[in-house]
């Protein structure tokens, strides 16, 4: 039980860090790392849910949620990296503020 609560608190804290990284917009790479933390907070939440036995087959239930979240996370990172590569190729800068409009 304490480990479940710990996972929930950890997921909330990591989600806050992820939001900070995305909203601060220090650099495009920082935003990618923020996406990674957001994904990790989803993983922690899924594990906490598995610990709470919300599904009938507990481990399989949380594992499938984590697998789906991993697919979505991989797609997010691939898309983000392609944007970063295109941005650096055209403008030569990692500055997220300049990329606000996503113009070419």
């Amino acid at each position: 039980m304490p480990s479940t609560v710990m996972l929930i608190v950890g997921a909330l804290a990591l989600f806050w860090v992820a939001m900070l990284g995305l909203l601060w917009r220090r650099s495009l790479i920082g935003m990618l790392v923020g996406v990674l933390y957001g994904w990790l907070s989803v993983v922690l939440s899924a594990m906490a849910m598995g610990n709470l036995r919300l599904g009938i087959e507990d481990e399989l239930g949380s594992g499938s949620i984590i697998f789906c979240a991993a697919l979505v996370g991989a797609l997010q990172v691939a898309l983000g990296l392609s944007i970063v590569v295109a941005r650096i190729a055209r403008r030569g800068s990692l500055d997220a503020q300049d990329a606000g409009l996503l113009e070419g």
């Binding site: 710990m6 909330l12 920082g30 993983v43 594992g63 996370g73």
Partner: protein, 180 residues
């Protein structure tokens, strides 16, 4: 109140390290190498915490994917930019001081909330385990009773704290674009 076992204490400690390192990786976003190094420390501490919390194969899978993502980001960084150079100008000292104070207050608040929640959950777990005879759904009932029953005030407090922290962060960081 039940005393937490050493494994649980170790997991809480490494989760704290993971949170601090994750925060540092976002703060150190001006330099790619430092940012990715802090993120690697964060994922390593998270791995230890999940192993201590008996996360199973799903935890191993998750940290492998996280490590792969970090490796890809580092690889692209090596290919695309000068990783040892700061890519953004430094923040002026007044803003830096105000943000540091705000973030320290947020950290202290999160630690206090986490400690309060864990001790509350342990006390609730001890009291409910005596009352409930069917152990199949005891975990759900404990958390339900914790968040919507006796610990409802605590849940509201956590929600308000998270909302205010996010709003305060947004207000603090709003003028960052004009500094450059």
């Amino acid at each position: 109140m039940m005393a937490p076992d050493p494994g649980s204490q170790g997991a809480i400690f490494s989760l704290g390290i993971a949170f601090v390192a994750a925060f540092m990786s976002v703060v150190l976003g001006r330099n790619l190498t430092r940012s990715v190094a802090a993120a690697v420390v964060s994922v390593a501490a998270l791995t230890f915490a999940l192993v201590q919390a008996e996360g199973g194969y799903a935890a191993i899978f998750a940290v492998i994917v996280a490590a792969l993502v970090l490796a890809i980001v580092q690889l692209f960084g090596w290919m695309l930019v000068d990783v040892d150079r700061d890519h953004l100008p430094p923040t002026d000292w007044g803003t830096w001081l105000a943000r540091s104070l705000a973030f320290v207050l947020v950290g202290v608040g999160l630690v206090l909330l986490g400690k309060g929640l864990i001790s509350e959950a342990a006390a609730m777990s001890a009291s409910i385990s005596h009352a409930v005879t069917d152990s199949t759904f005891s975990g759900s009932e404990e958390v339900g009773a914790l968040l919507f029953g006796e610990g409802g005030d605590l849940a509201i407090l956590i929600g308000l704290a998270l909302a205010s922290v996010l709003l305060a962060s947004l207000m603090l960081l709003r003028g960052d674009g004009e500094e450059r």
